[in-house]
Symmetry: C2
Subunit: 426 residues, 2 copies
């Protein structure tokens, strides 16, 4: 058995060719295949069209060691993958009694009669291994096509993913030639990508040519950068040691902007900091309209450390509900450091919380001035003496708001990290 | 010139084969090609690999009338599209003085010296039409490859999209054989997909076989359904009449759940309703943590009709900031109709707004009880006598929260729509 090194992924379904839908199964499959050292060399989408599908599968089988298809195994006339594969490989389709019985039972359990169309799902190309589908009617198929392996999986992720884990991964592991991939992720907030690259590059580039080489990918979202490090080889312990050493060096060089090296999100990290202190946080938001509260409460269990918030879009609300003094607003404006501090102090006090975070800014596209252009955002954290910073974010309204939320969470994290752990003083 | 009927889209770049990135350019291209009656038959992603790229382009040119590539036109050694295309089509690459000059000027305008790598971007396969790139250094290329047309576009959307609009679309229109596509979108909130399909199907299925046939696609996101109707042909006036008639019938049958037939989002529709009345809305949120305020303020100019909000995660906050009576919370619980009404009334009053909207619920995964399982959400609108409804949403925490936000906006919309327009009574 030659080892499997390269793969093509083929998503089947006309709906995936419309302007509204993307094939996202390939993200899961690429990740899992990479994990066992298999390179994904191409990804394609092809509609429910016999000739196009046949050509695409043939092309992929010629080019790679492994071809994984998703979709087109359903009961309707549109679903052609099984038949096309049997045809191009010259395999007879035989009705499999066991598969038919399991589909029938699935309908019976719901007190339904099996429609005729579903009978087609029991047709198995001669020599194929049937991959059971506990979450749907369409079984998967594993076909040794000589030079390459062809795996047919159902399209719905909740059927495809468990099937891949249970019945495809173990078979591929036998064929992967013992290669493994180990990964680590370093997450950084509040630094531009170019800045991270400038610092990180001299650190990780020597690792690219080391005995245990490390590959690095930079992923940027508004306000946040992730460095994905991966090592590929057969000596897992050596790969883990090398990665650990690289992660340590990166975390040190990029401190204090590194908020996680263990996969945790910023909201999880902040939640843990607050919980460790027995603290609750409250938020006062202007231009983000509630998105900071929304993100903090993305985490289940956030009620343990999130008190609530005040969205103060109008100046009257800033005065009445947050206690911002009218003369502060008048002298400095709604987007100013004194206002942000007053908002953070105010929300902390009014909600009887241990920490207060405030965001006020100009998300755009209108409302900018020469001194305070669109993208100007002021963030304050009140937990002891207030910490306040002014930012100039670039991008459209949505990007400015996203960056503001991430920056506020990062300023809260750094403020909490720089203070000795203590119990609430409220 | 034979008309162009079918297309393949090919995205080039190894980063698009990782588990982190999807090719989204194809969504834009599919939409625009469909608009002029060209069917996208396949989409592929291929890495920065000479052989794989050559095989993929050859395969696509054999199969379709038009092949559009995105990416791989940059200045680095990884960028291979131009060279590979010249090779497989047997075309000589010639440095184009005009292109070189325009790249050089681009650097000069920024007081930068042109790096050597960028010189490659001026190489043009003999006979190709150069498509100018006002937003970057890589020009696009239009190549008549005999049986098929090959169009090479840069990868960054802000370079690719304007180039497509200015220089590709007009050329394709000359080759599209006069076919056009006209579209309409009907947007519906708060109805399950199966319910919409049951009502809509008898209405639009006769149109599928009419003289001017209509194709229909249903797109579902949590809490919201979109019906996309499109007609394809050469008689634009007839297509518009047919679509108008279908949209009217659907809007009538699905009323009052249809919130837009002109492309507007729910937040835009609600904003317009409020502005027409000179009203401001305030929100009180519990389980959504600020997401309703966040979504309402997605729209630029929302300060004209959004006052602010209170995120009342803790019961103390519900009492102190929203004035919810302790005995209401005690007798009925935080997730109850009386509490929701008190929250909506409270936020309306405290923020001196004309309308108040409240959300309280159990987003999960924990916190459910037999009487109030995870997914139970109560929404109240206070604008005159309070309107309140209890929902049971299905899905994970993020899905429950999204559906709650959409349902709250829809309940606000219906409440406003059912009231005569009047000026604020505050």
């Amino acid at each position: 058995m030659p080892p499997v090194r390269t793969a093509a992924i083929l998503a089947v379904g006309s709906e995936l060719l419309t302007p509204h839908r993307l094939d996202t199964n390939s993200l899961f499959l690429s990740g899992r295949l990479n994990d066992i050292g298999i390179d994904v060399v191409s990804k394609s989408v092809v509609g429910d069209n016999e000739l196009a599908l046949a050509a695409a599968i043939r092309h992929a089988l010629d080019a790679e060691d492994l071809v994984v298809t998703t979709g087109g195994l359903g009961p309707t006339a549109d679903d052609l993958t099984r038949e096309v594969v049997a045809q191009i490989l010259g395999l007879e389709l035989v009705e499999n009694a066991e598969v038919l019985e399991s589909i029938r039972r699935r309908f019976e359990r719901r007190a339904l009669h099996m429609p005729d169309g579903n009978r087609r799902q029991a047709a198995v190309p001669k020599g194929a291994v049937v991959l059971p589908n506990p979450n749907g009617t369409a079984p998967g198929l594993w076909i040794d096509a000589g030079k390459a392996i062809l795996v047919l999986l159902p399209g719905p992720p909740r059927e495809m993913q468990p099937m891949f884990e249970a019945d495809v991964l173990p078979r591929l592991l036998e064929r992967s030639g013992g290669r493994r991939v180990v990964r680590r992720v370093v997450k950084i907030a509040g630094r531009p990508e170019s800045h991270v690259e400038e610092i990180a590059n001299p650190i990780y580039s020597p690792f690219a040519t080391a005995d245990t080489p490390i590959e690095t990918t930079i992923l940027a979202t508004p306000g946040q950068i992730e460095l994905h490090l991966s090592a590929r080889g057969s000596d897992v312990a050596a790969m883990e040691r090398t990665l650990e050493s690289a992660v340590e060096k990166l975390a040190k060089a990029l401190a204090p902007a590194v908020f996680s090296v263990d996969g945790k999100s910023l909201e999880q990290v902040v939640g843990q900091q607050l919980q460790a202190r027995g603290w609750k946080v409250a938020v006062a938001e202007s231009c983000t309209g509630g998105l900071l509260g929304g993100r903090l409460t993305d985490v289940s269990g956030s009620s343990a450390w999130f008190a609530g918030g005040i969205v103060a879009y109008e100046n009257e609300v800033k005065q009445q509900l947050l206690g911002v003094a009218a003369d502060v607003l008048e002298r400095h404006g709604a987007v100013s450091e004194p206002t942000a501090v007053a908002m953070a102090d105010g929300v902390r006090e009014r909600l009887a919380a241990d920490a207060g975070v405030a965001i006020t800014g100009i998300a755009g596209p209108t409302g900018g001035t020469p001194e305070k252009p669109v993208g100007t955002v002021v963030i304050a954290v009140s937990a002891g003496p207030a910490v306040v910073r002014t930012y100039r974010f670039v991008g459209d309204r949505a990007m400015v708001r996203q960056q503001a939320v991430t920056a506020a969470m990062e300023l809260l994290r750094q403020t909490l990290a720089s203070q000795p752990q203590q119990t609430a003083s409220r």
